[in-house]
């Protein structure tokens, strides 16, 4: 079989996978006795139909950009980091500690501090699995899964026993001070005269996410380190032959990955909740897997995939609010996207390849 043209490989195959996932989801809605057209209309309306909807969609998308980039950076080194959930949770702890215990004079400084703390905590949480993979050969997938559970237990302990304010019932930290409040997107847009719905969670973290996309692109494709990461991911023996140390690259790429996942916390913990609550990540770490797969581990692809999933999330929430269709539908769609664009990728590739071969025959 001839290889597919590059555009087909990068765009057509994931899009076909996505379409298949949507068709299956529509069938699922039909099977539960609802009208898929109505559901789609409501989801589109609720996710991109107004600036209010955009305010939520962009907020979710910001989370998914970070976790998607996290998975992607590790993917380039052939590491499958399923630990985004735990790393983002630890990032949240770092952000919360910095916001609670340092008297910040201004939000810009607080943002810098929180960025550093979130990234550092996320990276540190990835260090041990990375070291276990690099030095002891323990499979990164298993260790990162284990570390997700350990992170959940740790956060539970810290929130219930240590950081919970005296007298409070729910396991959460105190509210952060006013000085750490991040301007929301609507504050800025309204200031320059663009009307945008207030009381939406999208905030300036979005710009940090976009910056992260650019930096990851430069890192992976424009630096020596990025080249080494990609070399290791493509072929370990070749990388070793080229003088690249797998131990070093695995450590660095996994810590970068953990750091990116940890950065998510400035959006959800500092930007939205303004305190650390239990299960603050809400599965965004896992959605990063779907986003990275859909986006073919490229920042531009990840940006679009994150927007798509952000819209799906917001649309799903609207569905749960206004119809009998539960928001868990989004989890099913997410599963199908991972299935078709990740696991059954080869099937679609073969199918698309056959189409191309047929067309070529017709031309001859």
């Amino acid at each position: 079989m001839e290889p597919l043209p590059k555009w087909a490989d990068l765009v057509l195959v994931p899009v076909v996978g996505l379409v298949l996932a949507f068709i299956c989801s529509a069938l699922m809605i039909l099977a539960t006795g609802h009208d898929p057209r109505e559901a789609v209309q409501l989801m589109v309306e609720g996710s991109v139909g107004s600036t209010y909807a955009w305010g939520f969609t962009l907020y979710y998308a910001t989370n998914f950009i970070f976790t998607g980039l996290a998975v992607a950076v590790a993917f380039h080194a052939a590491m499958f980091n399923i630990g985004g959930e735990g790393q983002a949770a630890l990032g949240g702890l770092g952000v919360a500690l910095v916001c609670l215990f340092i008297p910040w004079p201004h939000w810009t400084l607080a943002l810098l501090g929180a960025t550093a703390a979130g990234a550092a905590f996320g990276a540190l949480w990835a260090t041990l699995p990375a070291w276990l993979q690099a030095r002891r050969g323990s499979h990164i997938v298993i260790t990162t899964i284990m570390f997700n559970f350990i992170a959940a237990a740790l956060l539970n302990y810290v929130l219930v026993n240590v950081l919970r304010p005296a007298g409070a019932m729910d396991p959460a930290t105190a509210k952060f001070t006013e000085a750490t409040h991040l301007p929301s997107l609507s504050d800025w847009l309204n200031a320059v005269g663009i009307p945008f719905a207030a009381r939406t969670p999208a905030n300036v973290t979005l710009f940090i996410a976009l910056l992260a996309c650019v930096l990851v692109y430069l890192l992976i494709w424009r630096t020596k380190l990025g080249f080494e990461i990609r070399s290791l991911g493509k072929s370990e023996p070749a990388a070793v032959y080229g003088g690249i140390s797998p131990v070093k690259i695995i450590m660095i790429s996994m810590m970068l990955s953990g750091g990116l996942a940890g950065l998510m916390a400035i959006n959800n913990v500092m930007g939205e909740a303004e305190r650390l609550v239990l299960n603050s990540v809400e599965g965004a770490g896992f959605i990063g897997i779907a986003v990275a797969l859909m986006g073919r581990s490229h920042p531009i692809g990840i940006l679009f995939a994150a927007l798509l999933f952000g819209a799906l999330y917001q649309g799903g929430a609207e569905l749960g609010l206004w119809t009998q269709i539960p928001r868990e539908l989004v989890i099913v769609i997410q599963a199908l996207v991972i299935l078709f664009t990740g696991a059954l990728d080869q099937m679609i590739r073969m199918f698309v390849g056959k189409l191309f071969a047929m067309r070529r025959k017709a031309e001859v």
Partner: protein, 378 residues
């Protein structure tokens, strides 16, 4: 802690270890054949939902048989997901880990989606009553032997009175051992996980063997899920597998992919769960805890002495342990009582698995061809 308490804890250990054991053996067959399966969790969840719903719907008409129909439905649902995993990872040579992740999400979403549209109870199934769930089985002579000191309570409380699936799970241990290590099929199954090309050369279909292994995995996961919903509990609750599939995976590594050791590992993890259920917080002398932490830190420093990287990672961990020790010292003092939080007990199976994975306590080596799709042309 008196004798009866110990018996009760061990009794709930057996009950809690059963789903882990079944899922662990399920993973054993799959991974021994070279198919990694992190979808155990999803398959259990799907089976739990299918068995509870079908048992509930069948119980008016089928009476006592309903629970068995439910079991079959659970196995069916689980095998269906297994076949999906097989399709992705055997036929289309996709990434087995990604396929497993997809299956976990699929199960977690679909169970709620279908549950809501059928029962409208917020994702639960209705409470199962008589005939809808597995009842305890009283072993013979349980009444007569109960009065014998020591052995009586062990027989009556610990060994007797479990549901039939518990005994079935225990029977699966020697059975799996026999199938894997004493039959031709088992030899081939293990070979296909180590060196599929050699099996292929011998004229045996790799694809067929791997599909059989994946289906066996589905059946066992199905029983595990059915036990959760119709044996351990009385109905399905959203996300009721609660990470058990991953603990089973951990137990599988702990047991180094061997059936008898799998029993030991799952009993250990079951015991941890039983203890943390019964004693959410465990008190111990602070001095003992501090000594343990300091010794652990010393071991870490020692283990990391060989290279700069090891020293910074393990030493960093050691410093954290020392910091915790110092924190206990200042807050409770040497003579005080420190409390091991329940969260620590919950995390312990995962921590133990990581330690095992690190290879400091006997290295766990997975089947050699695990995770790699087999390409015939190569």
């Amino acid at each position: 802690m008196d004798f009866l308490t110990i018996i009760q804890i061990l009794d709930s250990t057996v009950r809690l270890a059963t789903p882990l054991l079944l899922a662990c053996l399920a993973g054993l067959f799959s991974e021994r054949a070279g198919i990694f399966d992190i979808g155990l969790e999803g398959k259990m969840l799907a089976a739990a939902f299918a068995s509870a719903s079908v048992a509930y719907l069948a119980s008016p008409g089928w009476g006592g048989l309903a629970v068995w129909v439910g079991l079959l439905a659970g196995i069916f649902a689980s095998v269906l997901l297994s076949l999906l995993h097989g399709l992705a990872s055997i036929t289309f040579r996709g990434n087995q880990l990604i396929s497993g992740v997809a299956i976990n999400f699929l199960a977690s979403g679909l169970t709620v989606l279908i549950g809501l549209s059928v029962f409208k109870l917020g994702g639960r199934t209705p409470q199962l009553t008589d005939g809808g769930r597995f009842e305890g089985v009283t072993l013979p002579f349980a009444g007569a032997l109960g009065d014998i000191p020591f052995f009586g309570p062990i027989y009556v409380e610990l060994l007797s009175g479990h549901t039939i699936l518990v005994y079935v799970a225990m029977l699966f241990v020697p059975l799996s051992w026999f199938v894997l290590f004493r039959t031709r099929f088992g030899l081939r199954l293990r070979a296909v996980g180590e060196n599929p090309a050699a099996v292929d050369t011998a004229g045996i279909s790799v694809v067929r063997l791997r599909y059989i292994a994946v289906i066996m995995c589905g059946v066992l996961c199905g029983i595990a899920g059915a036990y959760l919903a119709t044996g351990l509990a009385a109905g399905f609750v959203k996300e009721m597998s609660a990470g058990r599939g991953f603990i089973a995976l951990a137990a599988l590594i702990f047991a180094k992919w061997r059936p008898v050791q799998a029993l030991g590992a799952t009993l250990l993890f079951g015991l941890l769960e039983a203890i943390s259920n019964r004693y959410p917080n465990i008190d111990m002398p602070a001095s003992l805890l501090i000594v343990v932490l300091v010794v652990l830190a010393a071991v870490l420093f020692f283990a990391g002495r060989k290279s700069k990287l090891d020293l910074s990672v393990l030493g960093g961990l050691g410093v954290i342990l020392l910091a915790i020790a110092a924190w206990i010292m200042t807050t409770t003092g040497l003579g005080g009582v420190a409390t091991l939080p329940s969260q620590f007990m919950q995390a312990l199976p995962y921590i133990l698995t990581v330690i095992i994975l690190a290879g400091f306590v006997g290295k766990a080596i997975p089947p050699r061809a695990g995770g790699q799709p087999y390409v015939k042309e190569r």
